[in-house]
Subunit: 229 residues, 2 copies
């Protein structure tokens, strides 16, 4: 057994999807002998994408300790975060040194824009999976995708599942199962519409319509990044 | 159809289990024409139970508008919150007027201590289910329990499931399914240990040992409340 004082750096940026972060946080913060840092550009409270909640970072890009595990959430604000050089530089330099590089939802596009998914199999929110090749990643239609030290997951709630996979890797299965029992993670969705594989085609079509503009924005943005490198 | 400008009041208090709140929040904040308020004693950032995260309330007990749906999270801090007269008074007066009174995890014990579950079937975190009779509630071993306008759920992640049940009730199933698809809520826990029904007896015994002191605290506290009324 190697020494276990693992430093986990969870990125936050304005208008993130807060559950992309708070789901995995609840799991990772319970890992014995791990320390979670909520890392942002400044210590100012960060507004989330939907509703009035704001999250307070615990440290900044400048002050964060060396990070063993990097985690990137997604959400509408991921587009602006990708344009922000300071944010992308921190992701790149932190990710290059980290032992594990992980994400939920469109956090994968941030990792990708920072050059961290080139040649890796990866997942992201189902609606944006097609964009992964623009950052050199290989789209993989699974809820959690592990390729060497890159662990990426599907949209929003998939962050909880990837957090248990991460915990198993970092702390072993007994520790992960204890956290699962504490968190009563034995899900029972009252209906099934959580993925295009199980939702009605009409619902999927309406959902795609709603995000068409955001899809186009992300596509345009990532094409710019690709042509830049 | 009645008018839909629903005011949702989600309580926060120091050392709550943040996912008890942030899981349901992600669902409820997406309900069309609903407004979520993060309600606390003051506007100061609220520390969570595990790790460095702090949540910023959006309003206070004094300034919150009339609430149609009250939601109470749980966590270690629920014990201190129950001792706090100002918090319990707000829960009681708000819950008595609200159309729906809801909780995740040991939030049910807060509702119960405020007198809001007397004679109702209810759920709470599996480890504390036995304490519900101390507040006059009828323990019901289900992940989500609906009894008239009281909707209570099991521990931590059960809050996501109850939020979809609530959304279905408030906004209809098509709206709830759209949110489920957006949030890619098609869970795939990598292993199954999330409830005593599926975890190994040895793991359950270790988990019960770990929370024995907290169980005793809660039992002592609720016995005091029962004898007071």
């Amino acid at each position: 057994m190697e020494s276990m004082s693992l430093q986990i750096g969870m990125l936050v940026f304005p208008h993130l999807t807060q559950l992309d972060l708070t789901g995995p946080y609840e799991v990772l913060a319970r890992i014995p002998d791990a320390t979670v840092h909520i890392v942002a550009k400044t210590l100012d409270p960060v507004p989330v994408e939907v509703g009035p909640l704001r999250l307070v970072p615990s440290t900044t890009f400048r002050d964060a300790p060396p990070i063993d595990l990097l985690f990137a959430p997604g959400g509408g604000g991921q587009i602006a975060a990708t344009e922000d050089d300071e944010t992308l530089d921190w992701i790149r330099t932190t990710g290059e040194k980290a032992r594990w590089v992980t994400s939920a939802c469109t956090g994968a596009l941030l990792l990708g824009a920072a050059g961290l998914l080139d040649g890796y199999r990866a997942a992201t929110h189902w609606a944006f999976m097609d964009l992964l090749p623009l950052v050199g990643a290989i789209p993989t239609n699974k809820r959690v995708v592990v390729d060497r030290n890159r662990l990426t997951s599907g949209g929003v709630t998939a962050g909880i599942d990837i957090a248990f996979v991460i915990t198993c890797e970092l702390a072993g299965r007994p520790a992960a199962e204890m956290i699962q029992l504490q968190m009563e993670y034995d899900p029972e969705p009252p209906f099934r519409a959580g993925h295009p594989n199980v939702a009605s085609p009409a619902l999927v079509a309406r959902a795609r319509e709603r995000i068409a503009r955001r899809y186009a924005q992300r596509e345009e943005q990532l094409r710019r990044f690709t042509s830049r490198t």
